[in-house]
Amino acid sequence: MDTSFTPEELAFRDEVRTFLSESYDAELQARLASGDPKVYKQAVIDWQKRLHEKGWIAPNWPVEYGGTGWDATRQFIYDSERAAAGVRDVVPFGLKMVGPVIYTFGTQEQKDRFLPSILASDEWWCQGYSEPGSGSDLASLKTRAVLDGDEYVVTGAKIWTTYAQFADWIFCLVRTSNEGKKQQGISFLLIDMKSPGIKVNPIVSIDNHHSLNEVEFNEVRVPVANRIGEQDKGWTYAKALLAHERTSIAGVADTKRNLAQVRDFAKREVNAGKSLLAEPGFQARMSDIEIELMALEFTELRVLAAVASGGAPGAESSLLKIKGTELQQAVQSLAMEVAAYYQGVLPNDLSAEELGHDFGSKARQSFMYGRAATVYGGSNEIQKNIIAKAVLGL
């Protein structure tokens, strides 16, 4: 057992630091912070293209498909440095979700068609899993795809679709059969968002922001060639993807960074002439979180190491998801406490200078949207069911 870095790994860490500080520049950050969705979208794409040029866009992909070939340690170093520098993670839908499904289960034609544009961020993906009636019980989904010649005709609705308004493609779970168990009649389709019959309805969330959508499908025609793997076997592919998704949702490195930021805010904030950070009550609240986070960082390393030596993330990813999202919310909640009255500030009315406060609005937005983390990617209640069943044998 050894968790110290080798000289080569330390050199790699320095290279990551240098690259991030040079490439994630102020101009890009300003565009990413823009309230204008078009500016924001283009800034995200520009940043991902810079990562792609560097060859670091897909740390988790195999080298043959354009991945970095990094071992678990290098992946950990990269992610820690990325988060510590306040650099956003890549949009997951293409790079962390459908990409791995395509290179694992797709045909050669599908790999050639889709993987390069995912790596280059030339096409934006979104995820069509949840439906209005199918949340935690995902396998009960009803959007149906009926075979008609060499096309499927898809009708139904998907919901909570993040950034569907930006997307060129959506990967969908659809029902192709009502025979047998509900998991058995599901197929995995890649659908062009420009297809006739698709309608995107915006959903404003409790952070007063539009990132979520409902996507309606009205007799949308999808070539059979856009099906991943076999018909009615989509659940198998989706499950593999969900484990990857859960592992990446944990967000330990980002939570560490966010906690450090709350610490800085608390140090600045004064109550009765004393720094808030010096208050024993606040310290206890902060260290409760930090101690859990220290543990989770090593839990994540243990999972990464197991995956790197050939395993697939299994039920451990549920543990990472539960603890990771709980800690995200704990840090967001603490930031709200530090912001006190300013936790209620909305972004539109006054500038930080006019208001005399610079983090309340951001804290509010993170906290409010952060409530989604214990719901999406399979709610934490479902994750507990998975651990109870798969790990404890209950």
């Binding site: 949340g135 404003v204 007063n208 979520l212 009765a272 006019e354 719901v375 999406y376 507990k384």
Partner: protein, 378 residues
């Protein structure tokens, strides 16, 4: 001993409850929140006509002469409706300071106008650096020409956007955090030298930051004794905390009821999700949190009404409980509503946001826990 409401209190409660049910739907409320003034002048007149604005004031000024229990009864119902109209700011803070500390002349001039709905007030107490410390006042009051000149900044002034009159805390002597040396002044909101910037908070209320530059006030517009303002502020804030807790209790009741209803109707895995024991136990926890908060609210109200010595302790305890219970209740309400709980369209998030703002107003749970600890263990 009994925990019953009087016949009058029941009538008061039912009158507010009926109004919320008939005239203050969630859609109506959202429409008011989105309007330019963030409140309804018409409904405020209705509040006046129904007598609600008179509840805490003495009968000699045309008030109802109500107790803390009467205020609690009103606030709990206003909480259920997520009412935006400035009852706290105008009646309990601005009016409360006048009732407890105003000269006979100020009381006679303003209290009847509060009661008939023609005066909207605000209490400007908070400053950028003061956080939860009421004694941390940097705004200055300098004696000049037989009156005072005010200079400084006040932030997050509730109802600051709509108030026609303000009571402002300012330092007339001593150092920035001294308990002695704080004075309160009543002035028109459009007095020369006041610059106002308004903005909305997440709970829909329209607030203001004020810059005061050489604002003149007459000596007769001093509320309470010179330099003795802190005790008056504290006396009003203790009651305001109790009133806010009552509003929060109404919100918690709504969140629990709506969540319970949702889990009975939302089906996954072919059954109502409320049939899962893991979720049932969590709803039992939120139910118990509500009941415990209600008990501490009653305890605080009784201590206040009987002017018991431990009233301050009871209110600190109440704010701590409210903070913890509130977080549990709104957290579970959002989580158990799943994706729906995350939408702006549903009322759940809006109840949560109001509860969050209540929790931070006049000190969050940590702040009151430290105060409680200091009273009990040192």
């Amino acid at each position: 001993m009994n925990f019953d409401f009087t016949e009058e209190q029941v009538m008061l409660r039912d009158s507010v409850a009926r109004f919320i049910q008939d005239d203050y739907s969630f859609d109506t409320r959202q429409g008011i929140a989105a309007s330019e003034t963030g409140m309804s002048a018409e409904l405020w007149r209705t509040f006046a006509e129904l007598g609600w604005l008179s509840v805490p004031f003495a009968e000699e000024h045309g008030g109802f002469g109500g107790s803390a229990v009467d205020v609690m009864v009103v606030m709990e119902q206003l909480g259920k409706g997520l009412v935006l109209e400035p009852y706290l700011a105008t009646v309990l803070l601005f009016g409360g300071l006048l009732q407890k500390g105003g000269s006979a002349e100020l009381q006679a001039n303003y209290i009847p106008k509060i009661i008939d709905g023609s005066c909207l007030g605000a209490f400007a107490y908070l400053e950028r650096q003061s956080r939860f410390e009421l004694a941390d006042v940097a705004t200055t009051a300098t004696a000049q020409d037989g009156g005072y000149r005010l200079n400084g900044e006040k932030v997050v002034v509730f109802n600051g956007a709509n108030a026609d009159h303000l009571i402002v805390s300012a330092r007339s002597s001593g150092e920035q955090s001294d308990e002695h040396g704080i004075s309160l002044f009543l002035l028109p909101a459009d007095a020369a030298g006041i610059e106002k910037k308004t903005y909305r908070l997440m709970d829909g209320q329209l607030v203001a930051n004020l810059v005061l530059k050489d604002v003149k006030v007459a000596a007769t517009d001093l509320v309470g004794e010179l330099d003795q303002g802190l005790a008056l502020i504290e006396a009003v804030v203790v009651e305001a905390n109790m009133a806010l807790a009552a509003e929060a209790l109404g919100i918690m009741e709504q969140l629990n009821a709506k969540t319970l209803e949702y889990t009975k109707t939302r089906k996954q895995f072919n059954v109502a999700i409320g049939s899962f024991q893991a979720l049932q136990h969590r709803m039992v926890d939120t139910f118990m949190a509500y009941e415990q908060t209600k008990s501490l609210l009653y305890r605080a109200v009784c201590a206040l009404t009987d002017e018991k010595e431990d009233a301050a302790t009871a209110v600190h305890a109440l704010k701590v409980m409210l903070d913890r219970a509130g977080k549990l209740v709104y957290g579970e309400a959002i989580q158990l509503h799943g994706g729906m709980g995350l939408t702006d369209e549903l009322d759940i998030g809006h109840f949560a946001k109001r509860l969050m703002m209540i929790n931070t107003t006049f000190g969050n749970g940590d702040y009151h826990q430290a105060k409680f600890n200091a009273l009990r263990y040192s």
